[in-house]
Each structure stands twice: as structure tokens, then as C-alpha cells.
Amino acid sequence: MDSSGMEVPAQPTGIGHGEPLLEVADLTKRFDDVTAVDGISFTVDRGEIFGFLGPNGAGKTTTITILTGLSRPDSGTVKVAGLDCTDDPKAAQHMIGIVPDESNLYPELSGYDNLCFCAALYGIRKRERSERARRLLADFDLQDAAGRKFGGYSKGMKRKLTIAAGIIHHPQILFLDEPTTGIDVASARRIRQLISDLNSRGTTIFLTTHYIEEAERLCGRIAFIVKGSIVRTDTVGNLMRHAHGRNVVQFEFSGEAGRACALIGREFPDLICGTVPEGIRVESPRPVRVGPLVRLLEDGGIEVTEARKILPSLEDVFVEITGIEAGAMKQEKERSGGGAR
């Protein structure tokens, strides 16, 4: 699917140590007639990148506002590092960092002053505030903009500074709400790199996104959330294994795709054949034997140029489990700026 953006190591990142840091049980939140979050339960382990993947309106932001203490659930419990913060959100706020879906720093303050102010909110002393702010500005390639007002930053710079502000107090867990939505491609890529680096230095990350590729690249485990419910939570590896049961082979050739499918359908009725822009795809519950198919097509006067096995993508798994067409997620992606390219 995506060949351009392997900025994150192929080795899966964000695997946890098995010790729970965030425990959520039966969380429900209603707004008048909408049930925004409907009885969700999950655990985030220390050290992992946990992804919340779902379309717009699925309940991702609502979940984050509850977990961080800006909103009260109608029922359910939230524990951070073993502390029950369902009724006392203040109990764990020193341990968590938040990067909201919209950058909410002070437009009239400079980048540097914004970071120092955020550090002061967590009781960090002046000398230390200044050191941390400078280091973060350097790490996030924002030194040149350090003295400029936040209000004049580009979207990508704003998002980066908001992330820096979210980690200046060295939180154990960082909540990121759609960190690359509405950001230009290069900045989005850099932001994913920063998230990955941050995690490899020990910060646990809870991330929401509606970009399937982003979840796949960054997250150790993913929860699919649809209409307020989690329909599946698993490691990327396990989710993919689920899809390995399917066998798909793609043929490329010169000639008419419709005729090729007709040929195959007549000769091998138990194979499912469909056309794609490149040619045709043949699907079967058993491994597909390519030889007989190529011979059949060639005998029919169709010159096959390529035949290859199509590995299932997380997108396929997502579509299968949630019943949401990947196209629907893509449309949202285009509407909101297409960050995950």
C-alpha cells in the first residue's frame, strides 16, 4: 500500500512490558440522545503505544477527555498507575500529558514562553523550566521560532510545540488526540518520528487516529472503536494473522479484465474473481495455485505480465472486523487534510 513512508522501523514499536499503567473498565458517556462512549474496557501497558482507531464521531476524543479528567463518565472506572481517578481526576494529573486535537497554547506568548509556562503549571523551577524548554525546542526543530509568537506558527509547528508542551513535565503516559490530522505531509512524518522516539525513551503513549496506516506503523496494540464501542483490541501482528486465512493473488496482463474473470469463473467456479485497476484479483479459502491459472489465461490469448500474492493489510482487517469501508475512512482523510501519506 504505502512505499514512501517507512520512516518508522519495520520492527513493531511500542510493545509494552505487561505491567498495566492505564486500566479502563466499562466506561460509558452519554450526551442527551447520543451514547458517545458505550461501555468500553481496555488496559494500556507501561511502555506501549496503544492506538484508538476509528472514524470521526466514534468517541475517541470523548474517551480522552474522560481519561484526562476534563469530563466525568456516566459509569465505569479509570485507574492510572493503580490510582483510582474515577472520582478524583486530580489524583493522577501530574503523571499524564495531553496533546489535544486542536493546539491550545497561548497565541500571544512565544514558543519558549509557552513551554516555560506549561512547565511552571507542574511546579518545575525556573532554571529547570528554561533548560527543558530549550532542549525540547531543539529536539523539535523549533529553535528558530522560539522567540516568535505561537499565534503566527504554521499548523505543523503548532502541533509540534503542543506535543513539546505535553511532555515538558516528563509524564509517564502521553495522550495524543489525532496528532497528524490536518497537518502537511512532511510535518506529519516528523511528528510520527518524534512519537516513536519518545516511546523508545520510555513514555507510554495513548494515541487516537483515523489513519489506518498510522496506527499500523506506530502502535503495538490497536483498539478498533466504532460508534462508541471497541469491536476488537489486539497487537498489530495478531490482527494481521487473523487476515492471513485469506489467499489473494493479483494478475496483471494486457487485455480485458472482464474476459479474464469470465474465463477463470468458467474453469474454477470455487475461486472468487474481481477486477482492480492493475488487472484482476483471485481469492480463495485455500492457497491459490498460480500455474494452472496463468496457463488458462495464456491459452485464452491473454498475456500475463505479473502474478503475485497480495498480503493482507490492516485496512483489510479493519474493514472485515468493523464492517466500515476503508473508503469511508479515506474520504474523511481527504476532507481533513490527508496527513498519513
Binding site: S71, Q93, I98, L105, A120, L121, Y122, G123
Partner: protein
């Protein structure tokens, strides 16, 4: 200690971003001065009337100085979502709101000293009781700020907060006995006067400047303190209910 670092920096940021900005400084200085001048000219009486007018001028300067800034420091920041940062920080809502209002309290108190200093320079005020005047000024600043806070957290938009506060503060000029005694108001309005904390604050000011308070101090001070507590309590309650949804 950590909490006080946060407290101090919230206050400092508000000072830099709002109170020490030229438009606010000039508003804070000019407004009371214009009132002083206006009253002296209109009354045509000259400086011997100053002790009579001073309590009302001080109250007015504080009332307008404090209530006008909270629409910006609170309602505006809530609207722009930066207030969420403060709500997410690890200290109590009470401490947060004290930090957010302390700037306005200081600003209001500073405003009060514009007419006071003008009066001290222009006339000698023989009967001035400073030990009463200073705490009264501070308490009026606190109660007016908390009234402004209650309005600011009840409003959703900045203009709404400004409209609401005008709805309160203009009638208060007449209801709280700033320039006409409460006794000269129609009987049916007087209960309103006694429900407003500024009536008591202004009464202490009259006592300390002109020596003509209507109510005893043991009533004025506790009522003023009680209103501060009540207004703060209601404001926190609204934030807790409406902003943490």
C-alpha cells in the same frame, strides 16, 4: 511549594498578557481620574466636597476595574480552550481560580489608589482612617472580582460576560449608595441594596474617609467577607458542573 510555583506563574502570565498591557493600564488610570474630574466640575463645589465624594469614587474604580478584566482572563481563555491546560494541571480548582483572580484583585486595588492619591495630593484629609480604608479597599476588590468571576463563568461568550457585568455594575452605582445614600432610594429598592456586598464595602469607606458610616463595622466586615466566600463558592460550583462536563 510546587503549587505555589504554578500559582505565581499564572498570576505573572496574566499580569504580562493583560494587566500591564497599555490599553488596560490607561483604562485603569484614566477611568477613575475622569470620574474625579467630572464630579468636581459637575458639582461646582470645589475641593471641600472631596471627602464626601471619595468613597463612591473608590468603590466605582474598583468595581469597574475588576469586573471588566475577568471577561478576558476567564471567559476568553475558556473560549480559546487554553483554559483547559489550567484545568488539567495538578492542583485544585480553588487554587487555580484564586490564581486567576488575584491579578484582578491587585488591579482593582491599584485602581482604587488613583482617586485616593489624587485626593491626598489635592486636599488634606484630616479624618482619614487608613487602618480601616486599606482592608476595606482590599475586600471590595475581592468581592467585586468574585462577582465578576461569577458572571464570567456563567457566560459562554466574551460579549455576554461584558453585557452581564454592565447589567450589574451600572445599577450598583445607584443601589450601593456610592453617590446618594441608600436611604434616599425608593423603599422597594432598598432590599436590593442590602443584598449587594458593595453597599457594605462602600459604607466602611464612608466611615474611614468621612466618618459617616450608616451601619456598624461589626456588621459591614462580616457581611463583606461572607459575600466573598459565597460568590467564590458559587463560581467554583459552576465551573465544576459546566466546564468539567
Amino acid at each position: 511549594m510546587r503549587k505555589w510555583i504554578a500559582f505565581w506563574n499564572i498570576l505573572l502570565k496574566d499580569m504580562r498578557s493583560y494587566y500591564l498591557k497599555p490599553p488596560n493600564i490607561s483604562w485603569g488610570l484614566l477611568f477613575p481620574l475622569v470620574w474625579v474630574a467630572m464630579f468636581l466640575i459637575r458639582s461646582g463645589l470645589g475641593l471641600e466636597m472631596l471627602p464626601e465624594l471619595l468613597p463612591g469614587l473608590v468603590s466605582l474604580s474598583i468595581l469597574f476595574g475588576t469586573t471588566s478584566v475577568l471577561a478576558v482572563t476567564v471567559t476568553f481563555e475558556k473560549k480559546g480552550r487554553s483554559f483547559e491546560r489550567l484545568l488539567l494541571a495538578p492542583f485544585s480548582l480553588e487554587l487555580l481560580m484564586l490564581a486567576k483572580t488575584s491579578g484582578a484583585i491587585l488591579f482593582g486595588t491599584a485602581n482604587a489608589f488613583v482617586p485616593i492619591l489624587a485626593a491626598v495630593i489635592l486636599t488634606d484629609l484630616p479624618g482619614m482612617n487608613w487602618a480601616m480604608l486599606i482592608p476595606a479597599t482590599l475586600l471590595i476588590a475581592v468581592s467585586s472580582t468574585f462577582l465578576g468571576l461569577l458572571i464570567a463563568v456563567s457566560a459562554r461568550e466574551v460579549f455576554e460576560a461584558q453585557t452581564f457585568s454592565n447589567f450589574f455594575r451600572f445599577p450598583m452605582i445607584f443601589l450601593c449608595g456610592l453617590f446618594f445614600p441608600v436611604a434616599s432610594l425608593p423603599v422597594f429598592l432598598r432590599p436590593l441594596s442590602y443584598a449587594l456586598p458593595l453597599t457594605y464595602g462602600n459604607d466602611i469607606l464612608r466611615g474611614s474617609i468621612a466618618g459617616t458610616s450608616l451601619m456598624p463595622l461589626w456588621l459591614d466586615f462580616p457581611v463583606l467577607l461572607g459575600s466573598c466566600a459565597l460568590l467564590f463558592y458559587f463560581s467554583i460550583n459552576i465551573i465544576n458542573r459546566k466546564w468539567i462536563t
